[in-house]
């Protein structure tokens, strides 16, 4: 086996470890403390916030406004409406700012 193939397979292995690891660690504990449970309940909010946050400040005003507009729509509207609103706002603002 050549070296790139070895490296790719090692990368695949460590990636799978991260994907199954959280579950394997957690399932070793029978009873989960209420603080751990509260934290796990907020994993989507926490990680997705951290994932999106840089996009708010690194791209430019058009992108930031589009994300904020989408967030406001998301409070009431569907997921499709949210993404569509963000895209429309973004395309319009990019047209306005050369």
């Amino acid at each position: 086996m050549n070296e790139p193939v070895m490296i790719i397979l090692c990368c695949a292995f460590v990636t799978y470890l991260t994907r199954i690891g959280g579950h394997l660690i957690l399932s070793r504990f029978g009873e989960i403390h209420h603080r751990v449970e509260s934290a796990l309940l907020m994993v989507p909010t926490a990680v997705l916030s951290a994932l999106v946050a840089p996009a708010l400040i690194t791209h430019g005003p058009a992108e930031a406004i589009a994300i904020i507009a989408a967030a406001l729509i998301a409070l009431r509207g569907s997921l499709v409406a949210t993404v569509a609103t963000g895209m429309i706002v973004l395309v319009l603002l990019r047209q306005l700012t050369p």
């Binding site: 790139p4 193939v5 070895m6 490296i7 790719i8 397979l9 090692c10 990368c11 695949a12 460590v14 990636t15 799978y16 991260t18 994907r19 199954i20 690891g21 959280g22 579950h23 394997l24 660690i25 957690l26 209420h34 603080r35 751990v36 449970e37 509260s38 934290a39 796990l40 309940l41 907020m42 994993v43 989507p44 909010t45 926490a46 990680v47 997705l48 916030s49 951290a50 994932l51 999106v52 946050a53 840089p54 708010l56 400040i57 690194t58 791209h59 992108e63 589009a66 989408a70 967030a71 729509i73 998301a74 409070l75 997921l79 949210t82 993404v83 963000g86 895209m87 973004l90 395309v91």
Partner: protein
């Protein structure tokens, strides 16, 4: 399988169709991302077979971009593997959370499901689990759509790489951030929502400009979880389970 009122196989296919339907809009973002990976991998000197092996076995776009970049730079093998591990570290949190909703999954199904656990897969499955039982057929409907489209677009990108225009042109680059924004706002009624959001965003920004990417994702996420744990009390947990 539990006994259910309707025909089980009918229910299964309805669940799978739901999964496919939920995944399809996201493919608008996955296709350019995957096609560009195919093109970049070829350009950086990977063979077609190596590109395909990476996409089929790693199946984590951002980390694959970094791996290809480092492979072309003669850096030591262990540092490439470590970089990929660091970028994918956030999945530990995903699997810890999502594993709790996989009661209907057999062990082999779980092993396969975690192999296919991407960012959109996690976000969609959490949303599904908040509405109803997370079924394997829903999960794999979503996952199969993503995986097949991902590989197909990789191959197309590798073959016709020079024809791909910049994804920025149509705002494609912002689809995933918008999608994640929509999914994260859907939990806004939970008691600690705004404090977790604030803690994660601020930490993410700080880390992004100090340690740098990809640590902002994991550390920003952990900061929000610490806030959630501090604010936790057994009563509030009951109400947020509804």
């Amino acid at each position: 399988m539990h006994t259910e009122t309707a025909n089980p196989s009918q229910q299964q296919s309805a669940q799978a169709v739901d999964g496919i339907k939920d995944a399809l809009p996201i493919m608008m973002a996955v296709i350019p991302f995957a096609a560009v990976f195919g093109a970049v991998a070829m350009e950086k000197g990977l063979s077609f077979a190596e590109m395909l092996l990476a996409s089929a076995t790693i199946f984590a776009g951002a980390s694959q971009y970094v791996m290809v970049e480092l492979l072309s730079k003669e850096v030591p093998a262990w540092s490439i593997v470590l970089s990929v591990f660091a970028i994918n570290f956030r999945h530990l949190l995903y699997s810890a959370s999502l594993g709790r909703y996989m009661k209907a999954f057999s062990s082999p199904q779980k092993a396969g499901a975690f192999f296919l656990l991407t960012d959109p897969q996690f976000a969609a499955s959490e949303t599904r689990a908040a509405q109803q039982n997370l079924r394997p057929s829903y999960y794999f409907g979503y996952a199969a759509t993503t995986y097949i489209v991902w590989i197909t677009a990789n191959v197309a990108g590798a073959m016709f790489g020079s024809l791909i225009s910049e994804p920025e042109a149509f705002g494609m680059d912002l689809i995933l951030p918008l999608y994640f924004t929509g999914l994260l706002i859907s939990s806004h009624k939970r008691p600690s929502f705004f404090s977790v959001l604030a803690a994660s965003c601020c930490t993410s920004w700080l880390v992004y400009y100090s340690l740098g990417s990809p640590w902002h994702i994991t550390l920003g996420g952990l900061a929000g979880l610490v806030v959630a744990a501090i604010q936790s009390n057994p009563q509030s947990l009951e109400s947020s389970h509804e």
